[in-house]
């Protein structure tokens, strides 16, 4: 009995201590919601020290996850970092606040070519965080031809050596581009044609993977994979046998940009955070850590040579042609869903 009393006492004291600590921390707070494994945590620490603002950092795995969480309400976030088409949808649904650019002077550091994109034509809602492409990662010990076309993913020579992305849009985009269509097509016949060639391809596919593709390709367990350029940078760093190619039929160009949702409680803190992340030295540090492509030229100059000169992260401008940025599929989401289920259940 005596023991239990002691234990209860200890518990009470520790709970009080936690409360006391919570009360002691009366710094303003911002809630940041970002993709998993997509920031250098030291950068958050530096922001907290410099601005005296506490950062509550949480993560999501897909744009759709994040969208549903925000749409449901109940939780308030000050900074979110969705992709292009999701920003378009959120602007259309009045889910974002206009940014006060006076509070984000570092905006002028951002590469102008990356601003005023279709998803935010007036550039009032978003500040680019990272950008990249979707291409083919291949293992040079297993593939000794030139990789420059999506066709190679349908080559029977590589049966059971091909990894596709486990993502409706990204996989359909590959098929649509191979057929010469737009990846934003709203024509159901074209989408079904894309589905049919993906079904033809299925016997050759080793697996449809998400983040798992990284370990599999680094271990040299497959010859070809469709990947995001930022992940390609990381994988090539880990396994130098790997190389990355951008298909000539065209490919997806994507942006992840920082926005402030309308549920934000600390808009000024959020703008301070966005401005901080856009500061060249901070952007350089963050980019060096995650390996994706920075939209800030001054930051790129500060990167280590292997990253700065990487063709994967910063391809020559003549390679970035035939690109398309995803648009919000909006009312044809159910067509994508049906087509993806038909492929998966085939």
């Amino acid at each position: 009995m005596k023991n239990t009393k002691v234990i209860v006492l200890i518990l009470l004291i520790s709970m009080l201590a936690v409360f006391a600590m919570g009360c002691g921390d009366d710094r303003p707070v911002i809630n940041v919601y970002n993709w998993g494994d997509y920031i250098d945590s030291d950068v958050i620490k530096e922001f907290e020290d410099e601005f005296g603002i506490k950062v509550n950092y949480s993560m999501y795995e897909t744009n759709e996850d994040m969208y549903i969480k925000l749409k449901q309400g109940g939780s308030s976030y000050d900074v979110v970092i969705p992709s292009d088409y999701m920003i378009e949808r959120m602007i259309n649904e009045d889910m974002l606040l206009k940014l006060d650019m006076n509070n984000i002077p570092n905006m002028e550091k951002v590469d102008e070519d990356l601003l005023y994109a279709d998803y935010d034509p007036t550039n009032e809602y978003s500040v680019p965080y990272m950008w990249g492409t979707v291409g083919i990662l291949y293992n040079t010990t297993m593939v000794d031809e030139t990789v420059d076309s999506w066709d190679i993913l349908w080559d029977e020579k590589y049966a059971d050596q091909i990894i596709m992305l486990n993502s409706q849009r990204d996989s359909l985009a590959v098929a649509l581009k191979r057929l010469g269509y737009s990846m934003n097509t709203r024509d159901v016949a074209q989408l079904e044609e894309a589905r049919d060639i993906l079904i033809d391809q299925k016997p050759l596919v080793y697996a449809y993977l998400g983040d798992q593709v990284k370990d599999t390709m680094i271990a040299g367990e497959a010859a070809l994979a469709v990947v995001y350029s930022g992940d390609a940078v990381y994988m090539i760093r880990e396994n130098p046998d790997l190389a990355y190619a951008l298909p000539k039929e065209g490919f997806n160009l994507w942006y992840d940009s920082m926005v402030i949702p309308s549920s934000a409680k600390n808009k000024e803190g959020a703008e301070a955070f966005i401005n901080f992340m856009t500061r060249p030295d901070i952007a350089a540090k963050n980019t060096d850590y995650i390996g994706y492509s920075s939209p800030i030229p001054e930051a790129i100059e500060m990167l280590p040579d292997d990253l700065k000169n990487s063709d994967v992260a910063y391809p020559d401008s003549d390679l970035i042609q035939n690109t398309e940025v995803f648009k919000d599929p909006a009312d044809i989401v159910d067509v994508y869903d049906r087509i993806w289920t038909e492929l998966n259940s085939h």
């Binding site: 549903i68 697996a207 367990e221 159910d334 998966n344």
Partner: protein, 278 residues
């Protein structure tokens, strides 16, 4: 009269079982924008959509895979439970502990471990090729999914059978021997029938998670052939159609209820005394 002490539990059941269940039912029988209650209208479309060949095929495949893994668990698990239950208490507790310890680790982590074991250049294949054999194709197929299921759910089969077997009155076995039955007959006529409640519990406890899993088929199956669990996940996480997702959950629940009803009837016919574990 309900005892006052049971109120907290009733509240718990109400908040965490009854209310969510009704929400799932409500979503299943409506359509509209999943995030906006005011757009909901009563509809059976979700069920109509489900009863088309693609979804039915996925359901059949899931049932098949769950059945096969349940049978495998039973075939592997029963002898294990039997052998352990015959040991002296001290040794047998240690053996059961060995069986339970891996379950202290996160389920996802244990499944992920198989990814590194089964991969083309994984541990098993490195060993196989060192011995001079060609590498085996172990990953991203139905066999890998089955292996993942049997590995993860086997303890749920062994534990209930074991706990029933250890409770069997030893004098019954002696009586059977006295009456001239050999070991085989004793097992067939005495031990096995008495252990049935454990077997039934084991079957339900393996079949239900095997039927609804989506993590195993995704990690070890490479998303090549979806199970019903994957389709439900897809509705909630990608497509955002909670109505269709809920109706699939309801259909899955109905199938689980049917299996439970079948097994419990079987249980009563055989036992009659209601000695099941739960």
């Amino acid at each position: 009269m309900m005892k006052r002490t049971s109120y907290p539990y009733l509240a718990w059941i109400l908040i965490f079982t009854i209310v969510p269940l009704f929400l799932v039912l409500y979503f299943a029988f409506t359509t509209g924008d999943s995030q906006n209650f005011s757009t909901f209208i009563f509809s059976l479309d979700n069920f109509k959509k489900f009863f088309t060949p693609i979804y039915i095929n996925v359901l059949i495949k899931s049932i098949n895979l769950a059945l096969v893994s349940t049978i495998l668990c039973l075939i592997i698990g029963y002898p294990i439970a039997y052998i352990i239950s015959r040991e002296k208490p001290k040794k047998r507790n240690a053996m059961i502990l060995m069986f339970v310890i891996p379950m202290w680790m996160n389920f996802l982590l244990r499944t992920y471990a198989w990814v590194t074991l089964l991969g083309r250049n994984g541990l098993i294949n490195t060993f196989v090729t060192k011995l001079g054999f060609p590498a085996l194709d172990l990953m991203f197929n139905e066999k890998a999914v089955l292996l993942g299921m049997v590995y993860n759910f086997l303890p749920f089969m062994v534990l209930p059978i074991y706990s029933v077997l250890t409770k069997i009155d030893k004098s019954l076995l002696e009586a059977s021997e006295d009456l001239g039955a050999n070991l085989m007959t004793t097992f067939r006529r005495v031990i096995f029938p008495l252990s049935l409640p454990g077997v039934i519990t084991g079957i339900t406890m393996v079949f239900i998670p095997a039927m609804s899993t989506f993590v195993i088929s995704s990690l070890l199956g490479g998303n090549k052939s979806n199970l019903i669990g994957n389709l439900i996940e897809q509705q909630f996480r990608w497509t955002g159609d909670w109505h269709f997702g809920s109706s699939m959950s309801i259909i899955l629940m109905i199938f689980i209820l049917i299996t439970m009803a079948l097994t419990s009837r079987f249980d009563k016919e055989k036992e009659g005394r209601g000695r099941g574990l739960w």
